[in-house]
Amino acid sequence: MKNVLIIDKNYLPYWLRQLRKTMTLIAPLRAGNEDVILNVIENIHEIELNCPASIPSPKEFLFPQKEDMFKFSAGTTDVLKDDTRRLIFGVRSCDISAIALLDRFFGEHFTDDYYMSRRKNSIFISMVCNDPDPTCFCLGLGTGPSLKSTFDIQLTDLGDRYMVETASKQGATLIKRHIYLFAQPKKSDYEDQYEILLSAQAKFEKRINLESARQKILGERISDRFWDWMSKKCFECGGCVYACPLCTCFNVLDNVESENHGTRLRVWDTCMFKGFTRMAGNIWPSEKKGTRIKQWYFHKLIYYPEHFGKFGCVGCGRCTITCPGHIDMATIAHKIDIGDRRSR
């Protein structure tokens, strides 16, 4: 299935412009306040590829922060489903790896049609990270900086041209219609790609060993006191959860517009919030902050590998940037790994 081609950088805007005719183009865009976010692109030249890998994850296009599920009015219901066709351009390998896991989570047992409907209509063109951020640690997890499969289309920046790898049927159709823009790769292209990958791998500053942290937890070397210590620095802001490309918890709410009319919607929720598990009658399984933090790390380091055979972390480093208390995945896993039991 995998197919390799070369596209001249000058042709890329034209290719995207052609693709945009049949679907909505979403790409990194510098917003008014200088932050780069993924957004709908009006002008192709506004696409900002020169941005950190840690821009908000594309999770929100598959599992939006707020999603209307159905409208209800006097006994009748209307299911609302998003079937916009989206081309999401310029996301990174870590996010593509996260989406591969989300597909399994939302697709197993009871299939989540809201996610699946959006997923079915989304195609991703991902970028190999030539310059990983100082917070990135995808290398050790095999979720980046480049991928071998699981992507639709993957671009590697080779200076004046991109290497275009295709690994899915959906991806192949995007190329097939515009094959005249692409050239066959030469030996020098492969050599350049190899060099770029090597240099990208060498640029990683963080070397986090989640497997070693997992083994230490499984060996019961980490007491609940450790989590209580860490929790002293938690602001309960939920930033880690919202930023995480793999966090999927949600709350369901009814928005009443008038009597008997309204919308049932779901919004992102976080296990870091105190009320997350509280039941009526004040039965409260995770009242303590330490318990909640432990739950988040156990979910990602223990339960995910148990269930999916993969960590619930892709090493994107977003929690490292977001957490005001510096108790993010990289820090905690490192502390566990080296046996640092101090609270500071």
Binding site: T77, F105, F110, N251, D254, G262, C271, G281, E306
Partner: protein, 274 residues
């Protein structure tokens, strides 16, 4: 586990046929679903009120034995308070049934003890009914039922009917009063009262979290097999299908992998130790 692809979040409608006041804050709702709605003892439904929200409620009727789906609901929170305001012929939404069920097949030919605390009798009632309706398949059956005060003993008619079918019944209330001269104290004090052979028996327990934990530990201490002691757990839930994450504790979704767990599955976990 089976794959289900229809819209898992959309409730189907059901009509309230009858409402019975059980105690000052507990009502029994009999509801009639619009579609065919088969269920097994131990399963729960997501009960939905448009504009209010959804709550997981265990089914307290037995499929094929009771005409309607019966739900025993205590007024404790926002949604249950709203449900208590409803009257017959009102419509509510239901989704499900969700969760696993009590493994009653395994208990065939064995003694059984049911231990309930307060409203905990509600999820066990369908199971007790199906055991008592097939009494010949089981040996001795006993029920230890704890309540706060005598008026709060739920399903008295059912308990009398079961007693007539030769079920050993031990009722206990918190303290003596002028209308109660029976047993007093917690259910855990009466666990060894029933005349059954504990070594080979099956236990089904439901009640407040503390009571569940103590009862399971005690029964195991009395020599029961940890794989023969079952309980039904509760949790905050928003979806009922293992997606929303609210009931995810210790690597288990209570909604899809539970709510019925054996003591062996949960004894080392945080699942029931609140």
């Amino acid at each position: 586990m089976k794959r289900i692809t229809k819209d898992i979040y959309l409730p189907s409608m059901a009509e309230i046929v009858e409402i019975i006041n059980m105690t000052a804050n507990i009502k029994l709702f009999k509801i009639k679903p619009r579609r065919l709605f088969p269920y097994k003892p131990g399963e729960f439904i997501m009960l939905s009120l448009w504009g209010k929200g959804e709550v997981p409620i265990s089914i307290t009727s037995t499929y094929g034995f009771h005409t309607y789906i019966e739900l025993c609901i205590k007024r404790v929170g926002y949604i249950t308070s709203a449900i208590h305001m409803l009257s017959p012929s009102d419509e509510i939404g239901i989704r499900g049934p969700f969760g696993n069920s009590f493994p009653i097949e395994k208990a065939k030919g064995k003694d059984i003890i049911f231990v309930t605390g307060g409203l905990g009798i509600a999820p066990l009632r369908p199971l007790i009914h199906s055991v008592m309706n097939n009494k010949k398949q089981f040996k001795k059956v006993a029920l230890v039922c704890g309540s706060c005060t005598p008026p709060e003993i739920l399903f008295k008619d059912d308990i009398n009917a079961w007693q007539k079918k030769r079920m050993q019944i031990i009722l206990t209330c918190e303290k003596k009063s002028k209308d109660w001269d029976g047993n007093t104290g917690l259910v855990t004090e009466y666990l060894n009262t029933p005349k059954i052979s504990f070594k080979d028996a099956f236990a089904f327990i439901c009640g407040p979290p503390v009571m569940i934990a103590l009862t399971m530990e005690n029964l195991h201490g009395m020599g029961m097999n940890e794989n023969h002691i079952f309980t039904s757990l509760e949790a905050h839930m928003k979806c009922g299908v293992g997606k929303c994450g609210h009931c995810y504790v210790d690597g288990k979704y209570i909604c899809t992998e539970g709510p019925v767990f054996s003591y062996a599955e949960i004894k080392d976990r945080r699942l029931y130790k609140h």
